[in-house]
């Protein structure tokens, strides 16, 4: 068990290195191959305002003249030991773990990420609670009343939920529920209050994005749960549970749902891991300043260090989620041996 975890951790770190290499190559090697000069790269780095001379100096000092491999080495070194950027006009400090330094906002990228993370996390946690509760209970009811009107209605809506793009459902709910109309019970997008300041306002401002995001996921979970329950409720052990004299409620929840849980837990871990790296569409639709919006803005502004940083962070979340799901798998299904 312990050796398994250690092995998986080493694999995770290797995986992260590969991801960082690929991202680094995309943002630093490909432009050079496409003909960008070190000065051009540096000016993207320090901002377009710099004149030719400063750009040249910056390219020199920031190492854009070095081979890409050396540049990558320096980047990794920065993550481990921190970095200092002497770009001419002054020296900017970026303490370890330095995921890069944005010369546009004059901030270590990590500081931004730390600022933005609570928004994305709030969005993800709230939506996850809603979609798991709604998706799983709708799935269970659908399976138990297979073929009923409820089942057919729920599965039709679920199909729509899986197929409709989020900016569509998001815009619809934004229009229907928040702008000056009789249903405008919720705040319109763009506001975020930290939960530590005012939990009620926090929830009130997030409820629309939560519902929009949850709708998309709940649909998938309802279908997954329904399929799983249809399988497990036909298992012999369900008959045994009934033969014991258990009430039907216990049979369904403790025996049926428990048996259908493995794929749900697996998918949930992966979905959640991906989501806390930034819910790009939902955050953009509702102008929430989370990691997803941050990534979009960074790409729009061509702010390479930010793009690198947020990509790496997302990779960390996804890889961690994979690891946790694999460990959970053995917890959920005792027949699984970790080795």
């Amino acid at each position: 068990m312990v050796t398994y975890i250690i092995r998986r951790l080493i694999a995770a770190i290797l995986m992260l290195l590969i991801v960082s290499m690929v991202t680094f190559a995309i943002f630093f090697l490909v432009p050079r191959l496409a003909g960008a000069t070190p000065e051009g790269m540096a000016s993207r780095y320090v901002g377009r305002t710099a004149n030719a001379e400063t750009a040249k100096l910056a390219a020199e000092r920031l190492g854009f003249n070095d081979p890409v491999v050396v540049q990558y080495g320096n980047y990794i070194k920065g993550i481990v030991f921190g970095a200092e950027y002497d770009y001419g006009p002054g020296v900017e400090k970026c303490p370890a773990p330095c995921l890069g330094y944005s010369f546009i906002t004059r901030q270590p990228v990590l500081n931004d990420l730390i600022d933005r993370f609570p928004v994305t996390l709030s969005l993800a946690v709230g939506a996850a609670v809603i979609w798991v509760l709604a998706g799983v209970s709708i799935g269970v009811l659908s399976a138990l009343r297979r073929g009923s009107l409820f089942d057919r209605a729920a599965m039709t809506v679920a199909l729509a939920g899986v197929s409709l793009p989020i900016f569509f459902t998001g815009l619809i709910s934004l229009v229907v529920l928040s702008y000056g109309n009789p249903f405008s019970i919720f705040a319109q997008g763009g506001h975020y209050t930290p939960i530590t300041e005012n939990p009620i306002e926090w929830a009130y401002n997030l409820i629309l994005p939560w519902i929009t995001l949850a709708f998309l996921f709940a649909a998938g979970y309802a279908r997954l749960t329904r399929a799983g329950m249809l399988d497990t409720m036909n298992e012999d052990y369900i008959r045994t549970a009934r033969a014991k004299g258990l009430p039907e409620r216990t049979v369904v929840a403790k025996h049926g749902l428990r048996g259908a849980l493995t794929p749900i837990v697996t998918i949930f871990g992966l979905d959640f891991g991906l989501l806390i790296g930034g819910a790009v569409l939902t955050e953009s639709t509702y102008s929430l300043q989370g990691l997803g919006k941050y990534a979009v803005d960074a790409i729009t502004n061509n702010d390479l260090p930010k793009v690198m940083g947020v990509t790496l962070l997302t990779a960390v979340f996804v890889i961690a989620a994979n690891l946790i799901v694999d460990l959970l798998y053995a917890v959920v299904d005792p027949r699984v041996r970790l080795s």
């Binding site: 298992e235 012999d236 052990y237 008959r239 004299g245 258990l246």
Partner: protein, 364 residues
């Protein structure tokens, strides 16, 4: 729902612990009505064992699930009467039947690996079975579970109680299943092919265990099997089922030494014996079991019966009745003597058995 309307057409509660009267269990399906059980009656007292024998698809499992009230009322039509200790179960409210399940009547299933939940420990599953009918703390129930595992012969029960089903061997799993079924001291125990999934030596051990436990608990025991050998030593009475109905009923001695139905003869001849090569079958039952949707008219067994022509066209037109052939000649504790469902006159059947069939069974 009240008992009053019911008692108008039903006679008062019978003295037997369990009595089935004309039980019918039909499933409406897209292909037609499946008559899995069609008019089954028998009686069983506490302390006695009934063996129900029949080929695959004869309705054995459907019967046992029916007694426990485990059929979904939405897709099964159940009629007739099931009397358990003076209570009628077919018309009883589902919750009343549920309260009896696991407590007064319990069941052991064929394949203990799939019949136990893979995600809960063996102990947890026994504890659950006990606590649903006994208001005790978890600790007390756990002690009880360890006791039960010990009684069914699991070594180191206090350690094995925390194992998962997949960590047990096949025989041990069946023992654990038995411990689970017996955890609330049921008065009626139904074992549906309890040994089919096990190898021969383990089969014998499990059967011994069931006999000992039945004596200890003084329960009424029904053993369901397609193999007469399994019930030979255990049963007081044997019911031979074919196409959803009883075609011969009698004491174990009746069925083994004085069988009168051609189908029973076929079963006896295909029974593996120690003194015979198991593959050798003297009077194999030709053909396939009957369709339960389009049940053959007349005698259900007639399409496969080697003696069908002896009763003229009656075999194909008239359903033979289940009639007593030798009243009171039963063994120990049988009910209703020896009954056979066949048009042939009893004398003809006996002479066929004595002169044709029995010698063939004995010579090889």
């Amino acid at each position: 729902m009240s008992r009053a309307d019911n008692s108008a057409d039903a006679s008062p509660a019978p003295p037997s612990y369990l009595e089935l009267r004309d039980l019918r269990i039909h499933f409406p399906t897209d292909d037609g009505l499946v008559k899995s059980v069609d008019g089954l009656s028998f009686r069983l007292d506490r302390g006695k064992t009934l063996g129900i024998v029949g080929e695959s698809g004869s309705g054995k499992s459907v019967t046992s699930l029916g007694i426990l009230g485990l059929h979904n009322r939405r897709n099964a039509r159940v009629s007739g009467e099931i009397w358990l200790d003076g209570e009628e179960l077919v018309t009883a409210p589902p919750d009343a039947v549920r309260a009896l399940r696991g407590k007064k009547m319990a069941m052991i299933f064929q394949d203990p690996l799939s019949a136990m939940h893979p995600y809960y420990t063996v102990g947890n599953q026994i504890i659950e079975a006990y606590r649903i009918h006994n208001k005790v703390t978890k600790a007390v129930a756990r002690k009880h579970a360890v006791d039960m595992l010990g009684r069914v012969g699991i070594p180191q029960p206090d350690r094995r109680v925390d194992d998962y089903p997949h960590e047990f061997s096949g025989g041990m799993r069946q023992r654990a299943m038995i411990a689970m079924a017996l955890s609330c001291d049921p008065e009626l125990l139904i074992a549906d092919e309890p040994t089919t999934a096990l190898d021969v030596t383990v089969q014998a051990q499990i059967l011994d265990l069931m006999r000992d436990l039945q004596r200890e608990f003084d329960s009424a025991l029904i053993i369901i099997t397609h193999d007469l050998g399994v019930v030979a030593e255990l049963s007081d009475d044997i019911l031979v089922m074919y196409g959803g109905a009883c075609i011969e009923y009698g004491s174990t001695d009746d069925i083994f030494y004085r069988p009168e139905h051609p189908y029973t003869w076929g079963l006896l001849s295909s029974m593996p014996r120690l003194d015979r090569e198991p593959t050798e079958r003297l009077l194999p039952i030709k053909g396939t079991p009957p369709s339960l949707i389009n049940v053959p008219p007349g005698c259900v067994f007639s399409p496969r019966c080697p003696y069908a022509d002896r009763t003229g066209d009656r075999a194909a037109t008239e359903v033979p009745e289940l009639l007593e052939t030798r009243a009171g000649h039963g063994g120990h504790g049988g009910h209703g003597g020896h009954m056979v469902r066949c048009h042939m006159p009893p004398a003809e059947r006996r002479s066929l058995w004595e002169n044709d069939v029995k010698p063939m069974l004995e010579t090889t």
